[in-house]
Amino acid sequence: MLISQAFDWLPEAASLESNSVDALIWWCIWVSIGVFTVVITFLLYSIWKFRAPDGEDLDGAPLHGHTGLEIIWTIIPTVIIGVTAVWSAIVVVDNEKVSAAPGGPMYVDVVGRQFVWDFTYPELGITTGDLRVPTDRQVILRLQAKDVIHSFFVYETRIKGDAVPGIVNDRVRFTMKTGTAGKSYPIVCAELCGAGHSVMRARMYVLSPGDFDAWTATAKREAVAAKG
């Protein structure tokens, strides 16, 4: 517990989905710490307890196994893994469920190319270099790529998806929490995409629904002005 308080183990949980993912991660961390402790304790104890003096020539006890123990240490991990797998499946299905709220999800077409992102809002008919999303409304990104594979990733949403040439990947679905309005997060490219991979960065601005509407209005006007 102390260690977990000493520094941040995970970045800010900014999307609604990140809560369930974090819970799962913490479950894994604790189970892992448990397993690790058991194994290492047993290992160190055995080394300490059964260490033979130098030059000793005796054999250990002729134990060839213990069926009961072997069954136990097969079953316990199976149970843990079964629970975790079911839990994980539920988390994924939940997180990827298309929002049935009024207005539905907001779709954004995301196109990755070496080494920038283009975000197109089909409902608004505008394209930008940074992503702006409202809080409290599910955002579904339709990821595509022009040249090589890229990967859209915002740490604080816990969700990433590859942008692959030739297909549309719509698995990046998240809803920003109310409290994140006004904040912005880095968008990183997570899939090696060439010489500029480490600088293929953009930002995701989170706006309150009101601010988002205001921004869309301005952006639409500007788009029309630019065309005219």
Binding site: C28, V39, A52, D59, H64, H66, D147, H197
Partner: protein
């Protein structure tokens, strides 16, 4: 199974195991490497010319296509290298209808270091060759890793740009995987596995040689790829990024074929060996777990590796031939590359781990002196991992945009793999329980492996879990995970295996202190380097980036610094290996008290491992059971069969008198000792009235030389009628075989009296025969193993000095040079000078003659100058170990001699060290 190769006479094979006649290939190392060089160049030239000519013939435009040419040059020069090494010679002869010897063993076994640097068909030599290649590329890939860490020590660009950085980590990963981890296990198993199952060699020795000779071209292509650039798409070479690559990518795609086929060939070889060549009694439930592991791995390789070969071919065809397998603009599918690639490359992870699990099972059981806990569970879990391993590949592609429904089943199968892996870990822990644990170097690595691999395994469960993987994939968490699996997993087991079998491979023990330093430096350095990467990945550092958020600057600097500990550890490792080979103390048969069969034969094992087919009678890890046996190793039938253990070495009688110290005889004995497990008795028949003391002195000299190279040697002088005396000695000493050394026909009294044939008839023991010229027989011993004593007699030699020299040699064997500084007066061509010189020469002649008759190895010299001149010249030319001054000399003279005598100890002949 050793055979006499020196001298005339019929070569006689020892042992009952099939009578392999063994003739070494006598062509020099230079011959082979010149052949490899021109063959590689000719191949390269062919690769250069062929596409040009074909494009010309078909009138294609442009005539020059760079990548096609690069691919052809790489392919043909690689094949040229392999052909030059001689791998195809036998098959080519067979194809051309020339006579071929199916029992040709001329490329089998090693008698000197040179044999390790050319074609060899002995699985033990091939094992060592594998390790040589992988150690070389470990240094290459390790250096690339350090360059990566140098770049990452600070945010921003340090030593290279984005493209260069991508090339560095691509080269590091590809070389580590294809040239280090995968072949390292092939090498270790190549050495140990045939002996473990009681086989004389692998099933296909020539094929085996081909496997190892295909590796260097693969490695050098990848190394060239790093240097030439155009290879920066990661070791996974995802399209379409790889399609954008240049020369380096082409070289990788061809190099991967060489490495891949090498791997497939070895796997086929292992499978056939394991299935068909196990000794009687070696049922599958008596196979050591390393054998289980390699059988399973080989199956994985045979099923899986063709997929990676194909994926690289398809990418290459897309790039240079205009196909559209993965070209999305022409209906190709980008994702299908990943499916094909990971269908191999996930099982490849197990190819790099399962043999390591096998090594760990051997080491943990041996150093705990306990049977493996749950042998069948561990064996089955190995197979389970392999089978499940083919159903999990898409977990690398959870975010790739593939069919979404595939993700949850693949998550489930992936997580299932944790169960058999856990069974192994718990089985090893159970093996430690109530054992008698010895923390020798191999065990340290095995225990270290258990602690780090648990971390890698658990972080592996994290990344199997779909929502967690969606978060952490492509971040530093993955970098941490794979290094805990490949370094804390595979590399640690490789080190465990190398230390475990090093005494068996080299016949020498390594330096324990250095080995422990190597372990602790690497262990601490490894954890300090890779543990923080988990956190980096979780909080915000994606992988494969040259530049990163400045808030991670301090931690990355720490990681880069920690990685240097591993470099220091690795340097110590190489120093240790070098010292072991050069001058390690001789290893016993079974330094670790292992119970598998490789520990029941000598270190290093004899040429064909076993003199007679061994019989397996029990499980491999029967510690703690009184009287339990794994296998019985038999002595050859000629010595009455029966069990064969370290303490009984069949006796070879070496019949020689004056020639016993000659080079051909010593070499013949050394060669026999190298190839088999013998002891030698030097038997010299003395003629009536001959000085027995002189004969004994000669024998002692030979004995001392041979013992320094590790042979077990006794001496005996027999008197009376030679045939009867030798026959009696042969009976008394249980002679297994007799080796005669005589002068040539017409010069030898022994041959004149038909001694050799009469002894053969009288004893019924196999007799072989070394002939030497009179010059060889008379030559004084000039063996580096023997200390060289220089006696300077400024006042001439008298009988007291002769006696004193003899006493000195009796005290400890040495070869002697006797010098008399005649100090002739000027002019040195004058009559007086001539007289003085002649007198000195006569005196030296007499003394040398007398001492030779008494069995000493001595030569004489007369020096025109003074005592000090002589001492100076001798120190410079001969570098004696010891200088003895005979006769009246002053303290000042002794001091002066001491001063000019370099490292030699200076004494007076009558005593008194300086």
């Amino acid at each position: 199974m050793a055979t006499h190769v020196s001298g005339s006479g019929t070569p006689i094979a020892h042992g009952a195991g099939g009578g392999h006649a063994h003739h070494s290939d006598h062509r020099s190392l230079g011959h082979w490497w010149i052949r490899i060089a021109w063959s590689t160049v000719v191949g390269g030239a062919l690769g250069l010319a062929l596409p040009f000519l074909l494009r010309f013939v078909f009138q294609m435009d442009p005539l020059w296509n760079e990548q096609v040419t690069v691919a052809c040059i790489a392919l043909f020069s690689g094949l040229g290298f392999v052909a030059g090494s001689g791998c195809f010679d036998w098959w080519v002869r067979w194809l051309l209808g020339k006579p071929v010897d199916y029992d040709d063993h001329s490329f089998h076994g090693a008698n000197s270091w040179r044999d390790y640097f050319r074609l060899n068909t002995d699985h033990k030599v091939i094992g060592a060759q594998y390790l040589g290649v992988i150690f070389f590329f470990l240094v290459v890939a390790g250096s690339l890793a350090e360059l990566v860490r140098t770049e990452l020590a600070q945010p921003g660009s340090q030593i290279t740009n984005g493209e260069g950085y991508n090339t560095l980590f691509t080269g590091h990963a590809a070389i580590m995987i294809f040239l280090v981890l995968i072949p390292a296990f092939a090498g270790l198993a190549n050495f140990a596995l045939p002996i473990m199952i009681g086989a004389k060699d692998m099933a296909f020795p020539k094929f085996n040689a081909l496997s190892v000779w295909m590796l260097p071209p693969a490695g050098f292509m990848m190394l060239a790829g790093v240097m030439l650039g155009g290879w920066s798409s990661g070791w996974t070479a995802y399209v379409p990024l790889a399609t954008q690559g240049g020369t380096g990518t082409t070289l990788f795609e061809i190099g991967a074929q060489f490495a891949g086929f090498s791997s497939i060939f070895t796997a086929v070889n292992f499978l056939v060996t394991i299935f068909t060549m196990r000794a009687p009694g070696m049922t599958i439930w008596r196979m050591p777990l390393l054998v289980w592991a390699n059988a399973t791995t080989s199956a994985l390789v045979v099923f899986g590796t063709p997929f990676v070969a194909v994926s690289q071919f398809m990418t290459m065809f897309d790039r240079i031939m205009g196909t559209h397998f993965f070209d999305w603009a022409f209906g190709g599918n980008v994702i299908s590359y990943q499916h094909i690639f990971w269908f191999y490359s996930h099982p490849a992870v197990y190819i790099m781990l399962i043999p390591g699990f096998g090594i760990i099972s051997e080491v943990i059981s041996t150093f705990s002196r306990k049977p493996i806990f749950g042998y069948r569970a561990i064996a089955f879990s190995t197979v389970a991992i392999a089978v499940l391993g083919f159903g999990v590949w898409a977990h690398h592609m959870f975010v790739s945009g593939m069919a979404p429904w595939l993700r949850i089943p693949m998550m489930a199968t992936t997580m299932l793999i944790a169960i058999p892996t856990g069974v192994k870990i718990f089985g090893w822990l159970g093996t430690l329980w109530r054992g008698r644990i010895h923390l020798d170097a191999p065990m340290l690595w095995a225990l270290g492996f258990m602690s780090t691999f648990v971390v890698g395994g658990l972080s592996g469960v994290f990344v199997a879990i779909l929502p967690v993987d969606i978060f952490v994939t492509d971040t530093y968490y993955i970098v941490a995970h794979i290094h805990y699996v490949f370094f804390g997993g595979s590399m640690f087991t490789i080190f465990a295996g190398v230390y475990y079998w090093l005494p068996k491979m080299t016949g020498r023990m390594f330096n324990t202190t250095l080995a422990k330093w190597h372990f602790w430096l690497t262990y601490i350095g490894f954890n300090a380097t890779f543990l923080p990467m988990h956190w980096l990945g979780l909080v915000g550092m994606p992988r494969r980036v040259m530049d990163y958020d400045p808030r991670f600057a301090n931690l990355n600097l720490f990681i880069s610094a920690a990685s240097i500990l591993m470099v220091v550890g690795t340097v110590l490792f190489f120093v240790n290996i070098y010292q072991t080979i050069r001058s390690g103390p001789k290893a016993p048969w079974n330094p670790w008290r292992g119970r598998t069969m490789e520990w029941l034969v000598s270190s290093p094992p004899p040429l064909f491992n076993f003199d007679a087919v061994p019989q397996v009678v029990g499980g491999p890890y029967q510690y703690g059971h009184v009287g339990a046996r794994h296998a019985i190793i038999y002595a050859p039938d000629e010595v009455g069969g029966g069990e064969y253990v370290e303490t009984d070495r069949p006796n070879i009688l070496v019949i020689a008198r004056d020639a016993v110290t000659s080079k051909p005889v010593l070499d013949a004995i050394r060669q026999l000792d190298h190839n088999g497990h013998w002891r030698f008795t030097l038997v010299s028949p003395a003629e009536d009235g001959q000085d027995v003391a002189g004969i004994e002195r000669r024998q002692r000299l030979a004995q001392s030389i041979l013992e320094r190279s590790g042979a077990v040697v006794a001496t005996k002088v027999v008197t009376g009628e030679p045939v009867a005396a030798i026959a009696a000695a042969a009976t008394d000493l249980h002679a297994h075989e007799i080796l005669f050394a005589t002068l040539g026909l017409g010069q030898s009294d022994w041959l004149r009296s038909d001694l050799v044939d009469r002894v053969r008839k009288a004893t019924g023991v196999a007799v072989s025969h070394v002939t030497l010229s009179a010059a060889e027989a008379a030559e004084s011993v000039h063996d580096a193993a023997l200390s060289h004593v220089h006696v300077i007699a400024p006042n001439g030699v008298d009988s007291a000095i002769v006696d004193a020299i003899r006493d000195r040699v009796d005290a400890s064997p040495a070869r002697i040079t006797l010098t008399v500084p005649a100090a002739v007066p000027a002019p040195e061509w004058g009559d007086e000078a001539n007289t003085r010189r002649a007198e000195a020469i006569t005196a030296v002649h007499a003394a040398v003659e007398s001492l030779r008759n008494q069995g000493l190895s001595i030569k004489g010299e007369v020096w025109d100058g003074s005592l000090l001149d002589a001492a100076k010249a001798i120190a410079k030319a001969d570098r004696p170990d010891e200088v003895l001054v005979a006769g009246q000399v002053t303290e000042e003279q002794l001091d002066a001699i001491d001063l000019v005598s370099r490292n030699a100890t200076v004494r007076t002949l009558t005593g008194g060290a300086r």
